[in-house]
Symmetry: C2
Subunit: 316 residues, 2 copies
């Protein structure tokens, strides 16, 4: 496989710099004491629309031709990528259609509508949403942007770890949560080009351990179940990001639902920042696998902060 | 009255610099769009133990003689000042006794115990806790530190606005929540000496509007009721901080309970930071009184982040 070049990553970061925030890196002396590691949290919960997805969406937009921009874009997502595409489209003055499952939470639908995107509802199965997307492509000539299995999205996402590496030199390990693989692949590319001595590990809910099994088997595995509180991490890897991950990511750390919930509350209550359950997966991994991290400088990608606080407070 | 000197404020800031964090200033483009003002949030929710109280407590400790340190300190508080004294005492290796009402929330009691302070429970009335404090002073020779009506505490608190003024020059107004008056007096002194063109306003729950009435009548007023969600703001002004506030604070903005809750949720969900209800009072004031703030550069002291997220999520 051919990895993207260092210049590709630098270009991506430059092209989106006017559309995204450079997010802060936070530390917690209590977390450092607890784990024996020096932990740096790259806080994409403070990113525009509340998640790193804005980076990939912005970069995908920046690569569209004028003709493509004139016709607009379409994606399928019930989560953060829907909001990212909707916001990027609003900034660029471009039409966007988001295909969402008809059982999506009302709060997510409202957020996408709030950014001015058009929503088309589909049935709950993957095949339903794909049919809906194809209909939009065929009838309206819109360009499809995949939430994670798209090289331009991956390159945009790489800007997050580029910033982290620049601000915190000498990291031994960066841990990113893995769902569709777009953040993990971008993080791995950034470390490969800008800090080759930094290992990139993934964190994944044990209930949906497809990436863990994929790294073992060498092919893309899928999940039989989707019952994790980390709703952003239920998807599988794709044929564009998996080769990057397979080559550059050395380890996937699995955590339980209880560990995810406990880590999320710990960060809310002690660090006073709202992180979503998918982000808590990486924090939980640092706490659970601290034996492997003692004395190391460890970066964590806090992928987003779009948590439904009321619902989670009642549920967990 | 004689105000503390500029040098007093500088000294206080210097003496506590090794015990407190320099907290970040955050902005929100959405909040700016909503209000028409340029708003800067000085985030003491990220302070050690989660509130600005660490500043005043640290400075009070720094002024104790060796003999006083050897005997230890005592205070009464069921809230953030209890934790601040407990943590400062731990850092200094000094004994601390906290008198807490026996009906204090278990989570607050645990937090104080976690820092290693001794707790003495008193009855629920102010006279009960004062008797308990006097007994400790008489029997053990400990030094009493008042949470808000103490000049060294006020000078320590002034370091917060000193940092804000240094980082964000040219503020037209700084708004601080007012309860016992220790934060407001410190903020007013900092603006007086370091940015005299900056007005200092207070924000207060309408349900406990004693500071509002005190500024009108020119004497310390008390509350008949204490039913506000902003549990840090139920107390009255004191004879040391009131003269400072009366001379230097030009306005008290009152907000309703609904406005406080709504502002708190807005900050949690949109800015992704946990603030406690007392801090939300100042945010609510900026939203409600935006007509007076349009086009201005406005600093808000986010006083703390020690919110009981689960309880507030169910209750509000």
């Amino acid at each position: 496989m051919i990895l993207s070049s260092k210049q590709d990553l630098l270009d991506a970061r430059g092209r989106i710099s006017h559309m995204v925030h450079k997010t802060p890196v936070l530390t917690s002396s209590t977390l450092n004491e607890m784990t024996g590691a020096e932990v740096f949290l790259k806080c994409e919960n403070f990113q525009r629309m509340g998640a790193y997805k804005m980076r990939g969406a912005s970069h995908a937009f920046s690569r569209l031709s004028d003709e493509q921009l004139a016709k607009g874009v379409v994606t399928h997502s019930s989560g953060n990528f829907a909001q990212a595409i909707a916001l990027a489209a609003r900034i660029k003055g471009v039409k966007a259609v988001i295909v969402m499952p008809e059982n999506s939470p009302a709060v997510k639908i409202e957020a996408v509508r709030g950014y001015g995107a058009e929503i088309i509802f589909s049935g709950p199965r993957p095949v339903d949403r794909e049919e809906a997307v194809h209909a939009v492509i065929n009838e309206r000539g819109m360009t499809f942007i995949h939430p994670s299995n798209d090289l331009q999205v991956i390159l945009g996402n790489s800007s997050c770890a580029q910033e982290l590496i620049e601000e915190i030199p000498g990291l031994d390990i960066i841990i990113a949560p893995v769902g569709g693989g777009g953040l993990l692949a971008g993080t791995a590319l950034a470390a490969h080009w800008f800090s080759p001595s930094t290992a990139v590990w993934a964190a994944e809910p044990g209930n949906v351990d497809d990436a863990y099994r994929s790294l073992q088997s060498g092919k893309i595995e899928t999940n039989e179940r989707a019952d994790t509180i980390a709703d952003g991490l239920r998807t599988n890897l794709g044929d564009i990001n998996f080769p990057i991950i397979y080559e550059l990511v050395s380890k996937v750390l699995l955590v339980s639902e209880e560990e995810i919930i406990s880590a999320m509350w710990w960060v809310w209550e002690r660090m006073k920042i709202i992180i979503e359950p998918s982000s808590a997966v990486a924090v939980a991994a640092v706490i659970r696998y601290q034996d492997q991290l003692k004395g190391k400088r460890v970066g964590i990608i806090i992928s987003g902060g779009n948590a439904d606080v009321r619902q989670l407070a009642v549920r967990s």
